[in-house]
């Protein structure tokens, strides 16, 4: 099997195809501290792309509660259990990737979900870990925890769906790294459904072929961020392009957050797919859980994130989330303002680092009334 370099695990690994990085790589950063699971992204994606026949239970974007929420049911604990305990303690991963752990006769270690695993897309919603015994009272930080994990296709650098398909029906676009599933070529073998550890390819029982998130490529081609990003009312997402660490550009907001500030981490990097959706870990969740999910460097990421209020550049990058529907290729912070630019260098976003404070007197002289805080 050819060898490819995966920077997320700090080493070369086996992959069914020769390395071929795209000219640009689609990527997204999601701040899990800000997600409230309103599912606006889910609905935006659903109404845009999957309202058709056979897509009734198909959510290219979903938001699940962790640790007890899953879509499909148990997706991550099932593959983690198959994967077994792996050594992911350092920047160089010592365990096996899912390609390296593939059993004889398979291209990747995976499993095919049951049909009913998709039947309850929001199972486990808001369930927290830990009991609240009689007489106990809430202390800070809370003894119980849960958080929301929004998920789309990770448009991996080394997609397992692509690697599993015996017909090469799945391809990674050389121009932007978006991973697409050819609706004319697929024959519905479901090798990709089995192979993708994130379970982000879906089988359509009406067309009898598989489908997946298209990274809103018609928008991305025109310089716009994906629908799940622009519809996010919590402004938790920033979609753009990422480069490899050796070519990281500090003025690219995604490169800055991922490679420079290192506050955003990939989902289950130990799988070896070099997933391109990056998460800012929730600060209140126990580290062992977060380290399993986001790899090494989580404590440092959280410490840096907590310092963001004192770091104008980092704060500026974070404030660009949800500030424009355009894809931000470059940003700068000057005079207390974060400014984002598109690919042509035109300004597309301008956000004050500190919102100006307006103080209204309690008595409104013009209307001769007292103002009230109730509306």
């Amino acid at each position: 099997m050819p060898k490819v370099y995966n920077w997320q695990i700090g080493r070369e690994m086996e992959y069914p195809y020769e390395p071929a990085r795209p000219a640009k790589q689609f990527a997204m950063v999601m701040d899990l501290n800000k997600c409230i699971a309103c599912q606006t992204c889910t609905v935006a994606c659903k109404t845009n792309w999957t309202p058709g026949r056979g897509q009734e239970y198909m959510f290219w974007n979903n938001v699940e509660s962790k640790p007890y929420g899953f879509y499909p049911l148990g997706w991550d604990v099932k593959i983690l259990e198959k994967h077994g305990v792996q050594d992911a303690s350092g920047p160089v991963y010592k365990g096996k990737t899912l390609f390296e752990a593939a059993p004889e006769g398979e291209r990747v270690l995976g499993y095919l979900p049951d049909d009913l695993d998709y039947a309850h897309p929001n199972v486990g919603e808001d369930d927290s870990l830990g009991d609240m015994p009689q007489g106990d009272y809430i202390t800070i930080p809370h003894m119980q925890w849960m958080y929301y994990l929004p998920r789309i296709c990770n448009h991996c650098t080394y997609p397992a769906c692509l690697g599993s398909c015996p017909r090469q029906s799945i391809y990674k676009r050389p121009e932007d790294g978006i991973v697409l599933l050819d609706q004319a070529r697929c024959r519905g073998y479901r090798e990709c459904v089995k192979g993708c550890p994130y379970k982000k390819t879906y089988f359509n029982p009406v067309t009898r072929v598989s489908e997946k998130c298209i990274g809103c490529y018609p928008a991305v081609e025109n310089g716009y961020q994906t629908q799940c990003t622009v519809s996010c009312i919590g402004k938790i997402r920033l979609q753009g392009f990422i480069t490899t660490p050796d070519k990281a550009r500090e003025d690219n907001p995604l490169d800055y957050l991922i490679h420079v500030a290192k506050i955003a981490k990939p989902l289950y990097p130990q799988f070896g797919l070099e997933a391109n959706v990056y998460y800012i870990p929730p600060v209140h969740v126990p580290l062992p859980f977060l380290s399993q999910m986001f790899g090494h460097g989580v404590p440092e990421a959280i410490a840096t994130y907590r310092r963001a209020k004192d770091d104008e550049k980092l704060l500026g990058a974070l404030l660009l989330f949800g500030s424009t529907p355009r894809i931000i290729h470059r940003f700068k912070v000057e005079a207390g303002t974060a400014i984002g630019f598109d690919e042509q260098g035109d300004e597309v976003s301008r956000v004050p680092i500190k919102e100006p404070i307006h103080i209204r007197p309690a008595y409104d002289e013009r209307h001769e009334v007292y103002r009230s805080n109730t509306t």
Partner: protein, 290 residues
């Protein structure tokens, strides 16, 4: 690169299998397509009386173990095959034991399938790779699918309300948009994917030049029908003998060619490369009329 290497490996392995590793005598197995008189048109009836006159051969089925993914222990070990022709149509009656009839397809359910492969252009003495051919060695592959037959015999293409009787859906785009606007939401149906589009036949005419190259032919002529009873499938696959298509073999009485078979047990989740295949058998199109 890896794929090319795999193809080369597959060709070498195929040649090796054909020469040495094949079940002894597989090349000598002769399937006689008996001539039928008094019949015209496609031969699609597995219950037709003439099948009693057609000699049966037992074809040993082997695991596809050249390319990944694979199933090292496929469920079907043997096919019982007969052949007949009426001068216009050639037909195979293929029978095998299958305890489960699988024609409902959802994410974790797969369909029963069987396929006949013949070289698109055969010259006596040729010994092409039986595993879907090789570059320059084009194969014609006729694949019958239980799920396609289910569609044809019931209400057409699968409907979500048939697959999940208690489902409730408020609205679909094609109920509120013009057809041209709703097409974007039809997925593979909208791009005329042969797996998804409306079907007239349960058999797909396909061609291949090696693993991963299987392509549905533009011209669809094959037909077929299966009957599942008492834990056994009996499936007929039929094809015009003068198809007028360079991708398909053209055969007449007295001709000889090769045929190989593949079978998928949907109940055992066999699909795609996870299949059982056979080596070549000699196919003789007999002359004369009964």
């Amino acid at each position: 690169m890896q794929i090319k290497r795999l193809q080369v490996l597959a060709i070498l392995a195929g040649a090796f299998a054909a020469l040495f590793a094949a079940p002894l005598g597989a090349q000598d197995l002769v399937l006689s397509a008996i001539p039928l008189s008094g019949s015209a048109g496609p031969l699609v009836d597995p219950d037709a009386a003439y099948w009693r006159d057609a000699p049966a051969i037992k074809v040993e089925m082997l695991p596809q173990n050249i390319t990944n993914p694979q199933n090292p222990d496929p469920a079907v070990k043997e096919l019982n095959v007969r052949a007949a022709h009426n001068g216009q149509w050639l037909a195979f009656l293929i029978e095998w034991a299958d305890p489960t009839k699988s024609d409902r397809i959802v994410v974790d359910q797969f369909g029963d399938q069987v396929a006949v492969e013949m070289p698109s252009a055969y010259k006596p003495g040729d010994m092409p790779n039986p595993m879907m051919g090789a570059p320059g060695e084009r194969m014609h592959i006729m694949q019958w699918r239980a799920a396609f037959q289910h569609d044809i015999e019931t209400s057409g293409e699968p409907k979500i309300s048939d697959l999940y009787p208690y489902i409730h859906v408020d609205v679909y785009p094609d109920e509120v948009l013009r057809a041209t606007d709703a097409r974007a939401y039809t997925g593979a149906v909208g791009v005329d994917n042969p797996i998804s589009r409306p079907k007239r036949s349960a058999v797909l005419d396909q061609m291949a030049e090696g693993f991963g190259t299987l392509t549905v032919e533009p011209e669809q002529q094959s037909d077929g029908r299966g009957i599942w009873a008492d834990g056994r499938w009996r499936v007929v696959i039929t094809h015009p003998m003068a198809p007028g298509d360079p991708n398909d073999p053209s055969l007449g009485p007295g001709d000889q060619t090769l045929a190989a078979f593949a079978v998928w047990e949907g109940g055992a989740r066999e699909v795609g490369a996870r299949k059982a295949w056979s080596n070549w058998v000699q196919l003789k199109v007999e002359t004369g009329h009964q």
